[in-house]
Amino acid sequence: MAKRIVIIAESSAATVSPVTYELVTLAAAIDPAFVEIVALGTDSGEAAREIAVHTGMPVTAVVTSAGYTPELWKDLVFRIIQGRNPDLTITAHTACGQDFAPGLAARLGIPCITAVESCSRADDELTFTRSILNGKALMDITPGATPCLITVMPGAFAAYGSTSPTQGEITLIASDSLPSRVVPSGMTQPGEEDTVPITEAEVVVSAGRGIGKPENLELIAQLAARFNRSAVGCSRPLCDQGWLPYRQQVGLTGATVSPKLYIACGISGSPQHVAGMRDSQLIIAINKDPHAAIFQVADYCVIADVVEFIPILLEELDNQ
C-alpha cells in the first residue's frame, strides 16, 4: 500500500540544511510517489525553491513573519499535518527537531519515534531502529497501522543524490505570527577560536571520559601537536566538566568534522558523538572497553587504556 509522507525540512536563513536531503533519501526509499516537503521560516520561500529544484518533489513553504519558536512550529505544522493525514511525518533529530517534534506528535495524538537510524519494511509495516545504551544495543519500534512522526539522526542516511529533470511544484502559504508565551530574542555566537578551528583541522585528536582526569589532557595535546593542522576535540562530558570549552566538542550538539585522521581517545562512541565524526577519512579508536561502540565506526581499534597507551605512542614517535 502507498505510504503518504510529509517531510519537515530544516533550513537556517535561506540555506537548506544538508540533513533535509538525508530525510528525502529515507522518504524516497519508502514511497517516492507520495512525498511532500514542508519548509518553514521567514526565508522558507527560497529554501522551498532549492528543495523543489533538487528533488523534483512538491514543496510547501510556510512563510513566517517571526523566527523559530517550538510553539510556532507546532502550531503551523499541526495545521498542515491535520489537513493531509500522512502515514508518516519525518523531521531531523537536530536541536530544532528535538524541540518541536515530540510535542507536535502529542498534539496530533500520534506516537513519536526519535533518533531513528534505519528503517525496514515487512508485510507493509515499517519498523524503525534506534540506538540505546551508548550504541551497544538497538531498539526496533513498529507503529503498526498508526500514523507516526519520526526524527532521523543526522548522517544516518546519504543525501538524496538524484537530481530531478523537472522542478517540483511550490505552494506558498503566508502565516501570521500568533501571540505566544515564548518569544525569540536573537542568537549568541560561540567564542573566538585561537587555534585551527576544529572543523578545518586535518587531524583531530579527541578525548573522552576515558582519560580519567583533566591533567591527562596534556597527553592529548602532545599527541595532537605531532601532526600538522591538528586540533584537540572532545566528547560532551568533558565540556560539561569544564575541562575543555564547548567549541571543542565534536558531536550532535557540537561540531561536525571530517578530517583525514580522527583519533578517538577514551571515547565510548555514543550516537551523539558518532554523528559528528563518522565521515572522517580514517578513524583510529583507543579504548580499554572492547565492547565500546566507538569500535563500530573505527577503521582501526586499539584496546588499551589511553593513559598508558599515549606515552608509549609518543616514545615510539620520538624513536622514528
Binding site: 517550538p70 551508548n134 544495543a137 580514517l282
Partner: protein
C-alpha cells in the same frame, strides 16, 4: 512558586549492561544511579530556589520499586519532597507512558515550572520533557544551557543550545517547562543536613495505573564491530602498528 523536577533512574553504564528482549536491564554487576541530565535539572531548580523567595521543589520519578532510591537522592541533594509513581513490574517504559504518568500527577498541582533533563543516558529519546509540556498545555524549550529567572519570578530568559556551539535566546513566560542540557550548572553533592532530612521524610508513593504503549518494540544487541581492524599485541606493539598504519595512509 512550586517547581517539579523529573528524575530518572538509569543503569550505571560503566559496568557491562545490556537489555533483554522484554526490555529489562541485565548485567553481572548491575547497579543504578540518577540520570546525569536530571542532576543538572535538579541543580537548576535549587539555584532558582536560592535566588527567589518562597520556592518549593518536588522531585518525581516513574518506575518500579527500585527507582525510589533516585527520589531519595534528589531529596538528599535538596528537593523538598519526593514523589514515586510506582509501576509494578520491571521492563522498558516508553517516554509517552512516562510523560502520561507524570501528567496524571502534576495536573492536580500548581507547578509554575517543570524542569527535566534533556534526555536519559540509557534510551536517549529526549521526549519526556516536550511531551509532558504539551499534555500540561504549557510552552517548553529543550536543550536549555542557560536559564535566568527575572526578579518578579514570572519570566525566564533562556539560552538554547543548537548545532555548532550557537545559542538561540528566548523569553519564556511561566508556567512553562524546560529540559536542560548537561553543563548548564555544576550539580551539588548531598549535604549531611539534607541526607538526615531525607532519611526522616517519607517518599510519596502513587501506584501507577496501566497505560498501554501505542507502538510495538523489541531490543537486540548492536552488531559486533564491523570492518574495523583490531590492532593486537602489547601496548608497545600496538603503538608501533598504529604508527605503521599512519605511514601507510601517508599521514606521518
Amino acid at each position: 512558586m512550586k517547581i517539579l523536577v523529573s528524575v530518572k533512574q538509569v543503569p550505571d553504564m560503566e559496568a557491562p549492561v545490556t537489555i533483554d528482549a522484554r526490555g529489562r536491564w541485565t548485567g553481572p554487576a548491575l547497579s543504578f544511579r540518577m540520570n546525569r541530565f536530571d542532576e543538572y535539572a535538579l541543580e537548576e531548580a535549587l539555584l532558582i530556589k536560592e535566588a527567589c523567595h518562597d520556592v518549593t521543589i518536588d522531585a518525581v520519578s516513574v518506575g518500579p520499586a527500585r527507582v525510589q532510591s533516585v527520589v531519595v537522592r534528589a531529596m538528599e541533594m535538596g528537593a523538598d519532597t519526593g514523589v514515586h509513581i510506582e509501576i509494578g513490574r520491571e521492563g522498558y517504559v516508553p517516554p509517552e507512558v512516562i510523560a502520561a504518568h507524570i501528567h496524571g500527577y502534576a495536573r492536580e498541582q500548581d507547578y509554575e515550572l517543570i524542569i527535566c533533563g534533556a534526555m536519559s543516558e540509557d534510551c536517549m529519546h529526549a521526549q519526556v520533557g516536550p511531551l509532558l509540556a504539551e499534555l500540561m498545555g504549557v510552552p517548553s524549550l529543550t536543550a536549555v544551557i542557560s536559564a535566568h529567572m527575572r526578579e518578579d519570578g514570572s519570566t525566564l530568559d533562556i539560552e538554547q543550545e543548537i548545532e555548532g556551539g550557537l545559542r538561540r535566546r528566548f523569553v519564556l513566560v511561566l508556567p512553562a517547562l524546560i529540559s536542560v542540557q548537561t553543563g548548564i550548572n555544576h550539580p551539588r553533592y548531598p549535604t549531611l543536613t539534607n541526607v538526615l532530612r531525607a532519611k526522616r521524610q517519607a517518599v510519596r508513593r502513587i501506584m501507577a495505573h496501566d497505560i498501554p504503549p501505542r507502538t510495538r518494540f523489541s531490543f537486540r544487541e548492536a552488531p559486533e564491530a564491523k570492518q574495523g581492524v583490531l590492532i593486537r599485541g602489547s601496548i608497545r606493539e600496538q603503538a608501533k602498528e598504529m604508527l605503521r598504519v599512519l605511514h601507510e595512509h601517508a599521514i606521518l
